[in-house]
Amino acid sequence: MSDPTRMDVESLPAASATVFVATFAAIAVAIVVLLLVDEWLARLDRDESRAHAANLYADGQRLLAAQRPHDASDRLASAVAIDRTNVVYQLGLAEASLADGRPADAETTLKAVLDRSETDGAANLLMARVLVREGRVDDAKSFYHRSVYGQWHGDSAGQRMRTRFELIDLLARHGTRQELLAELLPLEEVAPDSIGLRRKLGRLFIDAGSPARGVAILEQVLRRSPNDAAAYAGLGEAALVLGNYQTARADLAIAARLAPGDRVAAQQLALADTALALDPLRRGIGRRARLERARTLLNRSLDVHTACVPAMATTAAPPYTDGAADSARRALARPIAPSDGERRADGMLSLATALWNSVPVACRPTRTVTDRAVALIHAKLAT
């Protein structure tokens, strides 16, 4: 085989050895000079391009803040086209695309970032938001976790905390109580000692079904900030969940007084009042009152059960509930006699509990204060 670098040589080069050396030397010098010139030109070019991209990014951010996401994404796309290695620009573009109602474009941009740096905290957080927007909550949760444990630039603790709270908010809306609690427990140890954060944490524990932890945290908050209406409201809600309606009423009344404009606190106060009025287990009420309250609860539970029969047909309700409904109707048909004792009250409460438990959670009404009070009392009876 012939040497591939071999040339068709007719003779030795005609140039003298001196010219030969001089030519090679000139080429070497030219290479060095050109390398320096090129590096200088390339640096100038890079600097100018970066400055231009930075201006476009700033423009894009301004437009995004001004609620003009379409124009913003146009500017940010140009910035990304100039400086494709800049993750901040890409995240800005993804954010603008998301705001512009184009989650698929945002996802494409973020995939490119995550391909290069899968542990980037900010990119994972944005991807989680995109997935939430696309309704893919389960996928979003894993990106939230990657974001929490990912790399952040500057104030990483604060960023992680905010991401955790965003995930917790998502779980509070879409997740199970166990998932929520699992996120909250580690947070209790690491959350900064800020009143706002502790207050939020306390209330989240209550939502997650751990009211005792929530109460403990909110009491700490009140020791430091005695007039904290939100903390009182939280304590009131915890007491409602725990079935301490008297305590709940007292706390919510303080909250309503400290924050007269807080409609939620006012509604919760009304709920506590209603629960107090319906609660058959309340101490200090007489036998007759207890029988009346048990009867009211049974009547209400039967109404809910009857209304939910079509829904129950599709969810294969236990067969015995039809019998419970008949028993309830018979119990309600029999008037309360002076001789009726605790046994009748307990019987009616047992029937009410059986009927309530047979109704799917989604079918249980929550529209009125009474509906919600009934639900609270059943929760108390279940404990």
Binding site: D3, T5, D8, V9, A15, A17, V19, T23, F24, D45
Partner: protein, 600 residues
Amino acid sequence: MAIDATVLGRGPAAWMARIAELMEDLRRREDRIALALSLLIGALVGLVVVAFILLTGRLAAHLYPAGGAGWRRILAPTLGALLTGYLLFRFFPDARGSGIPQTRAAIFIYDGRITLRTVVGKFVCCSLSLGSGIALGREGPSVHIGSGIASVVARRLGLSRAQVRWLIPVGASAALAAAFNTPIAAVLFSLEEIMGDLHAPILGSVVLSSTTSWMVLHLVLGDEPLFHVAGYHLVSPAELLVYAALGIVGGLGSVAFVKLLLGLRRRFLQLPRSTLWVQPVAGGLVVGLLGYFVPQVLGVGYDQVDRVLSGDVILGMVILLAVLKIVATAVCYASGNAGGIFGPSMFIGAMMGAAVGRVAHLALPTMTAGAGAYALVGMGTAFAGIIRTPLTSVIMIFEVTRDYTIIVPLMISNLIAFYISQKLQREPIYEALAHQDGLHLPTGAFRPHAGRLRVNRAIREAPEPLPPALAAHHALDRMKDGTLTSWPVADSDGLLGMVRTADVAAAVGAGRGGATLGELLRDGESAGHDASLHFAHVHGDQPLGQALARMGEAHHTVLPVVSRANVRLLLGVVTLPDILAAYGVASADELPTAVLRDHE
């Protein structure tokens, strides 16, 4: 060439002596010269081309600042064309146009000679021209600059003509690798288009220079690809039909572009030579006016290609851009601006592909990929249709995407475009451009015969040409003195054709002894043919078999041998007996079978 250990520790004189010794050793070893020059030319050309790209970009950035006024878009290309037009006319006449036909001419006609003035002129004029927004590309000029540098270095070193010629594609591949960031495609382009021979024995040198240049590019500019392409894939096998349709659109678009460019250029070439310096302004003004309304038409337009490749496609806009770019590039090139058609071909292809892809995606959203995938294949399609290097175009797009899955649709589309282009526009664009300049470069049909017996082996001195005004009976008297059966007829501008002795005798016998040779020549021509280009002739580097075939077609046993650079420059004649003698036979009866087979 390891440094002698005894030199270490000695003074500068010992070092200089050792270096001189090494250089002398290098000078005497052809393989080492080839290796060293491949590396050095690769590095040098790479750096020059990077400087060319950066300077062009900086100039464009200054002429078109962000948020600049619209009038700049008219003024900058017009003034840029005026300035470069003057420079090209006054100082750098060989730096006009693309550079690819000129590079091929250097190899096949001028013994590899490209002057330093041409290199400098190409660099300066193309920087000004492309920076000012002229709608031409940088790859062709880069190839010319790279080849020129290789030529200058080789001639400076006193290498033989053959060596100088061999180094031209080495410089060309280095230039293309740096200009388009595709080292493999650069090698293929140099062999397929520049040399016209994929089996050229300089493959190793070409690969070395291309790789070195590419490394220099990445050293200076980083690892950013020229285009950022998302990972595309074939959504459904039925999509191949859409790619086939893209091949048809791409082929027809390519033919339209080539015919428009060649037609316009023919008209510009007919204008008086005194207007040569101002002709480029026509291109500048047209692109300026188009750019005033649609700024994306200005310049090379790779930013727009990048956006389209990433899927940012508005159907009306991409169709408009494809049409406007065809017009703008054709006018800019035809009017004599400095710049190439390689880049614009990519632009036009990307826009055509995006348009086809967008329509397909609107019609069949679940069966087709996004428009970006079609834009990518469209780039290769237009390249195959316009430049006519199908293999290079496939490899080039493959290199840009680094995605194997794009290969099959790309090949289908490319081959259809190539076939349509070949059918509707027989002459490839670079050969046609060279023909318009009076250069007769070797065609693809010629290349397989390279290395066989050439016309130069049988050439003989031409007799004194007869003037076209000479009467037939006087001509017959002159012809009787010689042994040739045909005689050259030439005026002050050069050869007009060959007139057969038998035809002249027949005219005299028929009582037309007063008819001039010019009249007899015209009688023999088909209407509408340009005599200066279409009389039967051969070139010295063509195979003897081809000369025999041409004799058969023209019914002459004597053919003029003319220059490739000027078809009217008579270098000699070749006769049938001389050809037979060159083959070592006395008569046609004794011709070797292989030779006869060649003619069939």
